[in-house]
Symmetry: C2
Subunit: 405 residues, 2 copies
């Protein structure tokens, strides 16, 4: 017989998932209510209002998709894209490839442009591609944890409007820890996840849809047999997924409360708490907190003699890619940190595999003690692996960053 759940103590300092805020886990353990209970629909409405603040938007259509962040991406793309539609994906890391892959499965005509890992696009590069390709949708990641880069997006809405394209952004890795402005930047659709800067567990994908995107989706409205009424005339080409049909999900979260899936109540409690805590802290304060602890971690690893991957002008606040020193077995060092000290840092994908560790400072773990203990342990692990970091240098450099505040 298996025992009850009893995970080992871990400090999760990788690129996410990170330790969920204990208040979020506590919220998730609240008793359930029925899916049309006034208490439940009230919580759904509050969750919509809270995520409008998190996304910095006035979009009515702001709600949750019941699945991981990848589910949010697929819901956005499959609801917007019809077979043959042109999509432009600026790829600057692994998650751009994921957007392209999902768009391909929607049978869209997918065009990509790429910059080397560790760089981001200049607005002119994106504009030139939009002008040439004339896509229906430009799909872009804000922060790609594979490279730690944060793509500037402030000009993207204007560029796309000039050429009649919609902008979709996957802000999973960045939202809450880096500046993001849905309305000010003119982003039509944004999706996220809880397991990075929002401080919750994976499994829920917040989404917001602006009026131009809603219009495209409403033009494909096909209410399910068994719950439609006489006014529900089928329109346009049916969305290729039922579960991810955002027109139906809008009807479930909206006034009509048309049955679709059965909302994942515990997950909603958690998502609501993530947003509640962030809004209480203030979005600007949360971004500043991530900036500060990210700067302390960066200074610390550099003071330990480690070099850092990528263009630091465009690094996300919440993750740093640390080059593994020559002669150090990266996987063995990571395993040692986990087994001996209970601290997890991240490995890497693709061209960076085996070359960098990814160290995160995000969500609940964007905290001074989490940064200092990670640096203290990293020093020990480097020394055990044969490197010669200056004793106390990592912790000292981080402390200086904190002292400057």
């Amino acid at each position: 017989m298996h025992d009850q759940i009893h995970p080992p103590h871990r400090l999760l300092m990788g690129p996410g998932p990170i330790n969920a805020d204990p208040r979020v886990l506590r919220a998730m353990s609240a008793p359930l209510v029925g899916q049309y209970d006034p208490a439940m629909t009230g919580y759904m409405n509050e969750t919509m209002a809270l995520y409008r603040e998190v996304f910095r938007t006035a979009n009515e259509q702001t709600f949750l998709v019941d699945g991981t962040s990848r589910a949010g991406i697929e819901a956005a793309l499959v609801s917007l894209l019809e077979p043959g539609d042109r999509v432009l994906v600026p790829v600057f890391g692994r998650f751009g490839h994921l957007l392209a892959e999902i768009a391909e499965r929607c049978a869209a005509e997918v065009h990509t442009i790429e910059v080397p890992w560790g760089e981001v696009f200049a607005p002119e590069q994106i504009e030139a591609a939009v002008r040439e390709i004339r896509p229906k949708v430009v799909a872009v990641v804000q922060g790609d944890t594979a490279t730690t880069m944060c793509q500037p997006l402030a000009d993207l809405g204007d560029i796309c409007r000039r050429y009649g394209a919609l902008v979709y952004c996957d802000a999973t890795a960045s939202l809450g820890g880096n500046d993001f402005r849905t309305d000010a930047w003119g982003i039509d659709v944004v999706t996220a996840g809880l397991q990075k800067c929002l401080g919750g567990p994976s499994g829920t994908a917040p989404i917001t849809l602006g009026p131009r995107a809603v219009e495209v989706i409403e033009a494909r409205r096909h209410v399910e047999a068994g719950i439609r009424d006489d006014g529900d005339v089928a329109r346009g080409r049916r969305i290729a997924s039922n579960y991810f049909d955002l027109a139906m999900i809008m009807d479930y979260w909206g006034e009509r409360r048309l049955n679709h899936h059965t909302e994942a109540t515990s997950a909603l409690y958690g998502a609501r708490e993530c947003a509640r805590l962030l809004v209480a802290e203030g979005l600007d304060a949360a971004v500043e907190r991530h900036r500060l602890h990210g700067a302390a971690m960066l200074a610390g690893v550099q003071a330990l003699g480690l070099s850092v991957f990528g263009n630091l002008d465009h690094k996300m606040h919440n993750v740093v890619a640390v080059c593994i020193p020559e002669g150090v077995d990266g996987d063995r060092a990571r395993a040692g940190m986990l087994e001996d000290y209970g601290i997890e840092i991240g490995t890497s994908f693709g061209p960076l595999h085996g070359k960098v560790w990814r160290i995160g400072t995000m969500g609940y773990n964007a905290r001074t003690d989490a940064v200092l203990v990670t640096l203290a342990v990293l020093e020990q692990v480097l020394r055990a692996a044969g490197a010669s970091p200056t004793p106390g240098a990592g912790v000292g450099a981080a402390r200086e960053v904190y002292a400057d505040v």
Copy 2:
């Protein structure tokens, strides 16, 4: 500022979701670990083993889809079906229509046969349709909460094998509370949800895939760009969804641990606990418990002078459809139960809308006290609505059922 989550006390005696077992909610509040932490992959393997017992199968490919029960249905159908494939859906309630709708979105050629609500199919009816239509897949619900009927399935595997068809079954509403035998009945793919007899919250869809289904899905294997290696040759027609691509999800749960989504850790903790409790009780004992409390509820409502919808020879153990007496305002009575007594019973869909209440006895709420308090309150509510139930008759009849054990 919104307050922390604080739902009202509810006894959820509708067709599901029901109150989650407190032990499941407690498991979900355990701290997170990293997605490739040996503790996490260990819990994933244990979860697979536990659900093999719940599904009564030896299928290696038994795991979780990260979404509600509807996500499990879509994952099964979109991974099995290619455009133009023939599917047969025997429809005996709302959820048969849902299977047909999802299969249509997979661009399959969907054939349905129907019996009136309140009835089930005889094996010969299904066999005749299979012989005529020669489908690739027969997709059927075991228990449809819309009608409370439980479709006999013991002959279905043999029938389908004779004609070369695969059998997919949605056991969301029935699994754990009614006999279900994946291997003995020859069912190729089964999906479920936690929010009915398994005693958990909605948001996770257990699935099991037999060898014949795995072969079909493996023949459509396309490993995602960025994580594939040289041996990963793309095969067959790519599955139309990335999130629901069961070939990739098998690689994530299997030895290769290829990155796909980020497993919803808290949800997995909950799903594991649901199965752990059920396996500790014993599957036969759990089914018997649901039979007993279902019989007590049935006897109770009948003794209150209420008639019951559907063919009682085929009623699921865990839900009963109670005809709303003439002159009683069904929605008002339900609202009164919820507001004054904190007890939720269910409304109905489609042809039964406004005609029956659906009362559940499942999962954590398949308990004597839950049955007796519901009957005691129902008597009060009926009397307040102008009906004349015999005082104490409902509770008395249920007590007699319990006394017979």
